[in-house]
């Protein structure tokens, strides 16, 4: 009883710490079994992290590399939202438009964003263009899908209710369908950001002089596993921070949702 009480009280901080500690231990054990070169120990990776943050890699500090990656993601993400959300919502709202656009979209949808890399490079060269384009494709598809789903699953009863108050088609769209689709849109907003973030790394692995993906490739070229792993950890931490930020933003915009933790 006492133990479970302690467990409950401390679990907010205790369990996450425990989970990290267990992971690090397993990592350390694996390092000892496999051997130092292929799998560096947590401490080696930590040390490498400190080193990387104090020097310039490829002419830029790690912070500048992170900035480059984030900038690509943010530009692509915003472009994806601005184009994808209205398109998806309109597909969900207008049956005729849906029938026209859906077949094309269904064929384009299963193509992974990474498959666009060669054509993106051919079209847009090797600068920022193709990288932003790849992230854009990833985010765009998810924005469209979620906006579409949110729109299609708007409770018809709410539309009927609005109609009984004499709401015009336009008023039904802006006052009922769009707010009703927001929860689903927000699910998409988060997925789209994760997708965008994953895509930027893929794009950077193929050819970039800056960005977090470049750090990893440098680590590989110089045969430095700790450097690769620091790059991976940076990716994870930034991805998680982005998700947290968005969840906070969702709570701000959709205060009526109760199932937010």
């Amino acid at each position: 009883m006492i133990a479970s009480g302690f467990f409950k009280k401390g679990s907010k901080l205790f369990l996450p710490l425990l989970s990290v500690a267990v992971c690090l231990s397993i990592w350390e054990v694996l390092h000892l079994i496999i051997g130092g070169d292929f799998l560096p120990s947590p401490y080696q990776v930590f040390k490498e992290g400190l080193r990387m943050f104090s020097v310039k890699i490829g002419g830029n500090t790690v912070w500048v590399h992170i900035y480059y990656s984030l900038r690509r993601v943010v530009i692509a993400y915003l472009l994806g939202a601005v184009t994808g959300l209205p398109l998806g919502m309109y597909m969900g709202w207008n049956r005729t438009f849906d029938k026209v656009v859906k077949p094309v979209f269904e064929v384009l949808r299963p193509i992974p964003p990474i498959a666009w890399i060669p054509i993106a490079i051919l079209w847009l060269g090797i600068g920022e263009g193709p990288k932003i384009f790849i992230c854009y494709v990833g985010a765009f598809v998810i924005f469209v899908l979620n906006a579409y789903t949110g729109m299609r699953y708007t409770d018809p009863l709410l539309i009927a209710a609005a109609r009984t108050y004499g709401a015009s088609r336009r008023q039904q769209l802006f006052n009922v369908a769009i707010p009703a689709s927001l929860p689903s849109v927000f699910a998409g907003v988060q997925n789209a950001l994760s997708m965008s973030w994953m895509c930027v790394l893929a794009a950077e692995l193929v050819g970039a002089r800056e960005g977090v993906g470049y750090l990893i490739i440098q680590g590989m070229d110089m045969y430095k596993p700790p450097m690769i792993m620091v790059g991976m950890i940076i990716i994870g931490i930034i991805g998680a921070s982005l998700a947290v930020t968005l969840r906070w933003f969702e709570r701000l915009v959709c205060p009526w949702r109760r199932d937010l933790t």
Partner: protein
């Protein structure tokens, strides 16, 4: 045929069919119903007897296959703010506060904010929800949600209120309270009401007239004027007598 001046809303020979892949379901068959101004009419019938369909036809949410609905003598061609609807499933907008839900109709009409909030406040007070203006629907109990539903419909100032089993999802206790409340609001602010239910007691408690519908296809079976003065007592001998009479006339099973 001349329209009698005191008839507010009228269904004239309405029929409605629903087509599924295998069957054609005759939901309403030649239903006629006249409701006078400020009359409280209760349509009583078992589940699936088309009473909701009838109400939706009157609301203009769906169109009858045959016959027509007349409002003040003019044919109904779609939904409109002259007919307010209270839905069984509340149909409140989850992203709007109580205040914004109640003032929705006035917002659609283009009434400016101070004016519509003032009107909405009056009806929020009337249904006893003062203090909950800023709450969201998910923070309210079922009974409170339907109070919002009532206030929202009433605040828009419709001539006719159409209520589709509004208390069907509530527990018995809350249901009694809401019936009482509805009558007291109606006494204070009279409108023409068409109220659909499958509950005999509720029908007799509320109605100036009870219209009994029968199933498959739905049609009007009989009508009972209830001239017991309101508010009525469930244990009043006249109430019980009426209840016996109507119960014998109804198939309240599926």
């Amino acid at each position: 045929m001349a329209q009698r001046p005191d008839i507010k809303i009228e269904c004239r020979n309405i029929s409605k069919m629903f087509l599924t892949e295998q069957y054609t379901i005759n939901v309403l068959d030649d239903v006629s119903l006249q409701v006078q101004k400020n009359e409280f009419v209760v349509v009583l019938g078992p589940g699936q007897c088309g009473k909701t369909t009838l109400l939706n036809c009157m609301a203009g949410i769906i169109m009858p296959d045959e016959g027509k609905v007349l409002m003040d003598g003019r044919e109904v061609t779609g939904p409109g703010p002259d007919r307010g609807v209270v839905f069984q499933q509340y149909a409140l907008f989850p992203w709007k506060t109580v205040m914004d839900n109640v003032s929705f109709g006035l917002y659609i009409k283009g009434v400016d904010k101070p004016k519509r909030n003032e009107t909405a406040q009056k009806y929020i007070d009337l249904v006893g929800l003062q203090g909950f203006e800023k709450s969201y629907p998910h923070q309210l109990s079922g009974g409170m949600k339907q109070r919002v539903g009532l206030a929202r419909a009433w605040a828009n100032g419709p001539d006719v209120l159409l209520m589709d089993e509004p208390f069907g999802a509530l527990d018995a206790q809350t249901r009694y309270a809401m019936e009482k409340e509805t009558l007291s609001i109606w006494e204070k602010d009279k409108r023409t009401v068409v109220f659909v239910t499958n509950n005999v007691e509720e029908a007799i408690y509320l109605g100036d007239r009870v219209v009994v519908m029968s199933c498959m296809p739905g049609h009007v079976k009989s009508q009972y004027p209830i001239d017991i003065p309101k508010p009525r007592e469930y244990t009043d001998p006249r109430f019980l007598e009426m209840r016996r009479k109507i119960s014998n006339d109804t198939e309240l099973s599926l």
